[in-house]
């Protein structure tokens, strides 16, 4: 399944957003997520099914002005 993660196209077999985070090494990381520009709360990630072409954003706290 082809998806886009943080702007980079990639292949994944992860069925859910939660599984994708584990597959990509985010397990336990302080991150927030969105799928196709919609926020997905952490509690919902195990139920968030991924589909061909999904655009996933994974962000973390950073410096800001």
């Amino acid at each position: 399944m082809k998806i886009t993660v943080n702007g980079t196209p990639r292949d994944s077999t992860a069925a859910t957003l939660d599984a994708l985070l584990v597959e990509l090494g985010y397990g336990g990381a302080k991150v927030a997520t969105a799928v196709n520009e919609s926020f997905v709360p952490a509690a919902i990630r195990p139920e968030q099914r991924l589909n061909e072409g999904d655009r996933i954003e994974i962000v973390a706290p950073r410096q800001g002005g």
């Binding site: 990381a29 302080k30 962000v59």
Partner: protein, 265 residues
Amino acid sequence: MSRHGKGADMPVFYETEVSSRLMLGTAQYPSPAILAEAFKRSGAGIATVSVRREAGGERAGQAFWDMIADLGVHVLPNTAGCHSVREAVTTAQMARELFDTNWIKLEVIGHADTLQPDPFGLVEAARILTDDGFQVFPYCTEDLVLCERLVEAGCRVLMPWGAPIGTGLGLNNIYGLRSLRAHFPDLPLVIDAGLGLPSQAAHAMELGYDAVLLNTAVAKAGDPAAMAEGFARALEAGRLAYEADPMEPRDMAAPSTPVFGRAFT
């Protein structure tokens, strides 16, 4: 917010009183230690932060968060760089989860060169986020109509720019900022962006503004911690002057030394 209130009165944002009139950004410092020193010497009460993409295994977000938590200040996440309502709303929702706060500095950028706000998108995003339980700090211009719309959308603080972000040009529209203060006498007003020198922050205080939000002016100074303290002192001086009810300027000279009793008369 009384003009003649006690000097100890501090701004209240959405029922939260802060300990300083300085809100300080956390970007562009030479090192985390210098960032921490700038907060310590200035006594800034609010730190602005953002969210950005993180790679798997990077864990930079946790390290940054731990450092900010150690500062012991209120955290104000932003939606910097968002050019659409959708981006800003989703970014705000992600920030709320990461930083565990309903506060959001709402930026909807409308122009790439000036980074000036998109007033139409800003009002729409402010309404959506307020309805979603956020307490919105809108980065706006001094336009009275825009500011009225933002208040109607639920904003209980306004953050007009002094000048475009990162320019250090100071207060570009004194008349407009004075009008805004007069139009919203009881609403917390914060100069957000464009300041370069403490004297400009003092001027903002003399106009009756409640706080300023800085980043580049401090972080890009040769000695950021010293500059942060300089801003803090200027804010105190400017606020004292405002509360002291300054004299009215006049065109003609008026002798300050008594005329009566002068020799040779």
